[in-house]
Symmetry: C2
């Protein structure tokens, strides 16, 4: 007799943040004119917030006006995977202090030619699951 | 003098489908009670549609009632990445013929214990971008 492991495990918040900190690409989901849109973003975790940059004047910046957002990141191999979803409020960083703090995060440069804004997502909730592939 | 490569390249549809076919995990975005939700799903490409399975009675199945969906998949390394977004209509497969066709796709088993539905997304539009990391 074998014990089946549950195919889905709910993760504690601390593990969700650790997992998020270990990947560099996530996806922002927000509504634009009432329709969901998804944007892949290069991000960093800083003090249990999600930080990313976006070029000035883009669709993504206007999406930030609707500041209730979802952010998702995941990773997997052939046997198992995980996914973390942050629900939160996104805001563009404006003050010198805010920007200086963001500069200390480990964000990959995106492009060097375009003026960029920092956006920080402050979490309202964080949920994470670990899941196993494979049949019975 | 060097020629700068454009940091973002728009991809033709054929390349979008090729890229999608090379990864196994994507994300479905749909509205639930007017709020965007995101669900990671294991998927396969079949005849320029996106195919995945989901367990009966889940939030994801009810989300399919709102059948205008987004589907996103991406991949990246330290130097560059790509993202493809499919906008389309999702429908649960019902007939024996539909299910038999879906069984021929290369879908990883998810779990062996739960009755599952096949869902197929028929595309309305497909957009893809390749992007480079790195400063000027």
């Amino acid at each position: 007799m074998t014990t089946r492991t549950d195919p889905v495990t709910i993760l504690p918040a601390s593990e969700c943040w650790d997992l998020l900190a270990g990947v560099a690409l996530g996806r922002l989901v927000t509504s634009v004119d009432g329709h969901p849109e998804i944007f892949p973003v290069n991000f960093a975790v800083q003090n249990r917030t999600v930080l990313f940059r976006t070029a000035e004047g883009t669709k993504l910046v206007s999406a930030m006006i609707n500041n209730d957002v979802l952010f998702e990141a995941d990773d997997h191999n052939v046997a198992e995977g995980w996914s973390v979803i942050v629900k939160g409020r996104a805001g563009t960083l404006r003050t010198d202090d805010e920007i200086a703090e963001a500069e200390r995060a480990q964000l990959l440069p995106w492009t060097g030619t375009v003026k960029q804004h920092y956006v920080r997502i402050k979490p309202v909730s964080v949920t994470g699951r670990r899941f196993a592939f494979g049949g019975a």
